[in-house]
Symmetry: C2
Subunit: 267 residues, 2 copies
Amino acid sequence: MAHIIVVGNEKGGAGKSTVSMHVATALARLGHRVGALDLDLRQRTLGRYLDNRYAFLKKSGMDLPSPVLAELPQIEADSLTPGENAYDHRLSHAVAELEGKSDFIIIDCPGSHTRLSQVAHSLADTLITPMNDSFIDFDLLARVDNDGVKILGPSVYSEMVWSARQLRAQAGLQPIDWVVLRNRLGAQQMVNKMKIERALERLSKRIGFRIVPGFSERVVFRELFPRGLTLLDLKDVGVKQLNISNVAARQELRDLIKALNLPGVEV
Amino acid sequence: MAHIIVVGNEKGGAGKSTVSMHVATALARLGHRVGALDLDLRQRTLGRYLDNRYAFLKKSGMDLPSPVLAELPQIEADSLTPGENAYDHRLSHAVAELEGKSDFIIIDCPGSHTRLSQVAHSLADTLITPMNDSFIDFDLLARVDNDGVKILGPSVYSEMVWSARQLRAQAGLQPIDWVVLRNRLGAQQMVNKMKIERALERLSKRIGFRIVPGFSERVVFRELFPRGLTLLDLKDVGVKQLNISNVAARQELRDLIKALNLPGVEV
Ligand SMILES: Nc1ncnc2c1ncn2[C@@H]1O[C@H](COP(=O)(O)OP(=O)(O)OP(=O)(O)O)[C@@H](O)[C@H]1O
Ligand SMILES: Nc1ncnc2c1ncn2[C@@H]1O[C@H](COP(=O)(O)OP(=O)(O)OP(=O)(O)O)[C@@H](O)[C@H]1O
Ligand SMILES: [Mg+2]
Ligand SMILES: [Mg+2]
């Protein structure tokens, strides 16, 4: 049984595709079999990141451990059972295709509310929600008062996760391990950072997620997209000396994988 | 005739709502009448930012120049003409409501492809597209080769703008002034920054937009969301001394407004 990791946040640009690529590649490089699905059918950032990787590896004759990308299959309308949603059908087929050959399946969700995203959330053994260190991103999880202190109530994305959890509970499945991480953290910005941290801690107890270490704002997390590479691949492609930011980035990714507590994963 | 400014980018987290709030507030503080529309019906970041502002001003008894938020009206299904799309109807009504009392109407679009967003783009006199300094964001405008140099072809968002321009041309309207700005720029990161800059310049000639100065990554652009304030309001709310980053932020916003070349706007 593949362990399904869903990376979700309705908020755009939280870092879902970036986290998906880096977690998937880290697990592949640790020797696990990793399948990947991109549910952002229009933007397809994760799909493009992996396509770039395959193209680069082919062109350079290199062979690096890589996640295996699966596409949602095209289907005939008449292959649906009456009342079955076409997207649900395509998603369960794509997951089934990866199940037999994967220890982990990473599912990257779009930054909007879609049927595919909703269904994927109910498939999650682990749900990773990245967010910017910002009350604008926080606003999708919960509303806060004018001082950014008091929690006034849940917002659309928390409610969406809640209904995914309901569905899972009704189906008798294991509860979702919901982890939230802050992404693109600045080196300074102490006042804002402390405020968000406190508000998140309060919210985590209230709506049931745990907070794990995230990523700082580092250009290495985005500059390797055209070649489909991550910081973990740099030594293999001939970069002799990692700069100090890349060494710190590697530690951040390591700490994240550790904190995810995934079955069979030793970091 | 209000000058319509649409802030659009299908890519999530590019900075649309942040740019919308800051441009709208800057114009209001310059003495212009500014209307605002939030087409992200679920997340409503701009709507929430302005609601926070109104609540804060009311609570503190202050009166600062502010954009006027309009909501899309609810409509009766039978008020539609045969074949008319409900969203088109609601949008044109909201714009009509603001037209008579606004010099500028700012329309914030969602980070996904919706009917409202598509229609709004064809209403734009000025279209502002913010993007992160990243090839992941670039990928929504155009595909590039593995080195991030050669432009291989347009992507979904460029194609969406192209069809909005087509529609406008067919309707005999003035062409859209399409401006692209980079947002959340880092202080260093020279190599990546240069690559993106060059690719953007090449693309601008190819698909017809101009590049304007954008914003650096600064916590002041996001930490004032709970009170609905911007850096321009800080003196009025009693912050005696702006720190060096806030002074620089004010200059960045000033340079952007200037570069937009808006009718009747003196900076
Ligand atoms: N830790 C980081 N350091 C530097 N840049 C980052 C980091 N995380 C993400 N980015 C950049 O921020 C932008 C948004 O990230 P990403 O596309 O992964 O978010 P997303 O949640 O998948 O967005 P969407 O909602 O559009 O799917 C991208 O330009 C990406 O390169
Ligand atoms: N120049 C900046 N400096 C610091 N933080 C910024 C800056 N611009 C945007 N942000 C932060 O980045 C995140 C994304 O910005 P924003 O929500 O404005 O983007 P968006 O394009 O409207 O996203 P969506 O696609 O979800 O509508 C937010 O957390 C915001 O506070
Ligand atoms: Mg994404
Ligand atoms: Mg927005």
